[in-house]
């Protein structure tokens, strides 16, 4: 539409029409002895015809008039004057000129139809391109940005799509905010359109002086936003192009509505699943809190109400029960708190550059008592880079994985930890020689409250989901599988995209000894 030409011919077209007439005259003059008058007339008519089809109405009428004049001047006696002897020549002049008019009208209509067909084709192509790009758009903001890009390409210098929120307020999607400069006046016009659901701005009756044209985006009666064309191409709002503009706007509106509906459906599913999650969390926690609590209460009252019947060994056993069960409760509560923090998105890692060895070392130290008698083989190659992690959270990943290994594998079976760094990734492998993970359960164990079929008891299955949550917060992954020869294997991957800071080597020499 931008490239559409108005129906006025340019000066070169007139020049070319003139050249055609001069050419015809030349040929006729050269063959003057051989040609009869009707041949000369035909020659001129040919020139008029060509001018009509090639150069448009103005040049063709000019060609007709010139043809009449030159024909009269050179070929109609008295020669070399514009006067005429016989009335029948006047008839020829009238026919020549009349034919020129008719043909040029016909030609003009033909050209116009061709032009319209071309515009229609362009419109169809533009709408097709728009709908194809809007098909897979994930959110309304992106749909708005894409629609604005297309509108700018088709209608004007630039464009923006403002989205209407639930409260009826218009806003520019964040992704487009920097690209499109909208003045307060532009926004005022857009707001008017938002409220009245009628086009306004340049080319309309409302705010005709504005530099923008605003078109409402509606589906049925529901307003969804406003399409703003900044410095629109002339004629965009003219009645003959309105239809296309409206179809364009409707298509954008449909796309926005589709995305909005999909977003709402997704939010509803999420709400439902998080509610069911919460209730199963509650029932799991209350069960897991009650059993150690029952043991503590039982042991405590037995000691308090003892009337001297308990022996030293029995007393020690009851005291031991209280301590271990209290520790179990503490672990559970800590896990639940971590899980809640992950779920609520409140776990922003506080990254620092740390050696993997240190994080692993503090995890092993924290589990010193739990790991009594276990062989833990660590294989960390020298020269591992510093890794950008939250040391407290990352330690928790190892603590949970190691506790898990201790819980599910035979008492004396070894645990192996190794790490390898490629250029862009750190892979940590933690493997045991226990019964392994049942086939098909490799993903399920990372879901909340999965405790494994063969669980020895104790603790809601929150350890692995917490590991996954922490890894995700770090932009990494954790997966589980079985290793050849039996046993489970956990693989942690952490992207290493940033360059670790360098620590200047210390000049050796004055050593302390």
């Amino acid at each position: 539409m931008k490239q559409q030409q108005p129906e006025t011919a340019s000066w070169p077209a007139y020049g070319q029409a003139l050249a055609l007439v001069v050419g015809s005259s030349g040929i006729a003059l050269l063959g003057r002895t051989a040609f009869h008058l009707p041949d000369v007339v035909m020659l001129y008519l040919l020139a008029i015809l060509i001018a009509s089809f090639r150069f448009g109405r103005g040049p063709s009428i000019t060609a007709a008039a010139l043809s009449v004049a030159t024909y009269d001047f050179f070929f109609v006696p008295p020669f070399y004057t514009l006067s005429v002897e016989h009335a029948r020549h006047v008839m020829t002049f009238a026919m020549m000129f009349g034919l020129g008019l008719v043909v040029s009208n016909l030609a003009a209509r033909l050209r116009q139809e061709k032009q319209q067909a071309k515009v229609r084709e362009e419109h169809t192509a533009a709408l097709y391109a728009l709908s194809r790009e809007l098909v897979g758009v994930p959110d309304a903001g992106e749909a708005a940005v894409i629609a604005a890009q297309h509108a700018a390409a088709v209608f004007g210098e630039s464009a923006a799509v403002l989205l209407r929120d639930r409260a009826g307020k218009l806003s520019l999607p964040a992704a487009a905010a920097s690209a499109v400069p909208l003045t307060p006046t532009d926004l005022g016009a857009a707001q008017w359109v938002n409220e009245n659901s009628r086009p306004a701005g340049a080319g309309t009756e409302i705010f005709p002086g504005a530099s923008v044209a605003c078109i409402p985006l509606t589906v049925g009666l529901a307003p969804l936003g406003v399409l703003v064309l900044i410095r629109p191409a002339p004629g965009v709002m003219a009645s003959e192009h309105r239809d296309f503009l409206e179809v364009f706007a409707r298509q954008v509106a449909f796309a926005i509505e589709r995305v909005r509906l999909a977003e709402e459906a997704k939010a509803a599913t999420l709400r439902a699943s998080s509610e069911s999650m919460r209730s199963s969390l509650l029932s799991a926690i209350s069960h897991d809190l009650r059993s150690p609590l029952a043991a503590i209460t039982g042991a405590g009252t037995a000691l308090r109400d003892d009337l001297g019947r308990l022996g030293g060994e029995q007393r020690a056993e009851l005291v031991d029960t209280i301590c271990t069960e209290a520790e179990r409760m503490e672990r559970l509560i800590a896990n639940v708190l971590d899980m809640v923090r992950i779920e609520s998105g409140g776990m922003a890692p506080r990254r620092d550059w740390v050696p993997l060895e240190e994080v692993l070392g503090s995890a092993l130290l924290r589990l010193d008592a739990t790991l009594q008698g276990r062989e833990v083989a660590t294989d960390l190659p020298e020269g591992l880079p510093l890794i950008p992690v939250d040391p407290v959270l990352f330690e928790q990943v190892f603590v949970n994985l190691l506790e898990n290994a201790v819980k599910y594998t035979p008492a004396a079976s070894p645990i192996e930890i190794s790490a390898r760094a490629s250029g862009t990734e750190l892979e940590i492998r933690l493997a045991d020689r226990g019964p392994g993970i049942p086939v098909g359960e490799e993903e399920r164990i990372f879901e909340k409250f999965d405790r494994g079929e063969h669980a020895g008891g104790g603790g809601v299955g929150l350890g692995l989901p917490i590991c996954r949550g922490i890894m995700q917060a770090h932009g990494g992954t954790i997966v589980a599988g079985n290793r050849p020869g039996g046993g489970a294997e956990f693989r942690i991957r952490l992207p290493l995209t940033e360059t670790p800071p360098t620590v200047a080597a210390e000049p050796t020499g004055e050593a302390a000894a």
Partner: protein, 232 residues
């Protein structure tokens, strides 16, 4: 108990925890003064002149960190703060504000007594002037006058920074030092935020003096807080 034990001020709003501390410390011969709020704690600290303060960071009338700062304006009495898990920031702030150590709730009685012993010992030795010239911690022997380091009888060569780092931790054995405190002492006040320096040198040091650097027994990490040399 022939002579009266040290006076310990407990600033703690939870009656159950106060009862536990009273019982656990009373048996050991400590004399106890109790306060329930930061305000009471400040008054008790000035009137009873305690030899050690156990201070809960979360108090109903303000936080223990402010109280630590107030007390540090005029006293060097050892302060051990009590804090919850997951509040590493609070611990670091309290330590940097002048607290000597921390305990994470829930804690066992052995841990409590060990921390109190270390804090009291450090208070005494710093009052007595320069400490022992030779420190022995497990297999480690550090001769401060000769700048000599031995592990299980074998001499170890350290760079100047590694030596300063080891000496600082060994002189404060049993006590936690924050990253900031160590960086300031070893690298200087301009480097207090360069924790990765410290971490890299700590890894080097562990490789030289720990039999298994991935399972350190002497140079312990306090995640998110700092480091602690094992108590001899």
């Amino acid at each position: 108990m022939s002579e009266p034990g040290p006076v310990v001020l407990i600033v703690e709003d939870e009656p159950q925890l106060r009862r536990f501390l009273r019982t656990a410390l009373g048996v050991q011969g400590y004399r106890l003064v109790e306060a329930e709020t930061a305000h009471e704690g400040l008054i008790a600290a000035t009137t009873h002149n305690p030899e050690l303060i156990l201070l809960d960071i979360g108090l109903p009338d303000g936080n223990g960190i402010d109280l630590t700062r107030r007390i540090r304006e005029w006293s060097r009495v050892p302060i051990i703060v009590i804090s919850a898990r997951g509040k590493e920031d609070d611990k670091v702030t309290a330590l940097d504000a002048g607290a000597d150590d921390y305990l994470t709730k829930p804690f066992g009685v052995n841990e409590l007594l060990a921390r109190i012993r270390v804090a009291l010992r450090h208070a005494q030795s710093s009052a007595a002037g320069p400490g022992e010239p030779v420190l022995e911690i497990g297999p480690l022997r550090l001769d401060l006058t000769r700048r000599e380091v031995l592990v299980s009888g074998t001499q170890i060569h350290l760079t100047p920074l590694e030596y300063r780092l080891l000496a600082l931790l060994a002189q404060n054995a049993g006590k936690v030092l924050t990253h900031r405190q160590i960086l300031k002492e070893v690298w200087g006040p301009g480097s207090v935020n360069e924790t990765h320096y410290l971490r890299v040198f700590m890894a080097q040091l562990r490789r030289k003096i720990e039999p298994d650097p991935a399972r350190p027994r002497l140079l312990l990490t306090e995640p998110g807080v700092g480091y602690r040399m094992r108590e001899s």
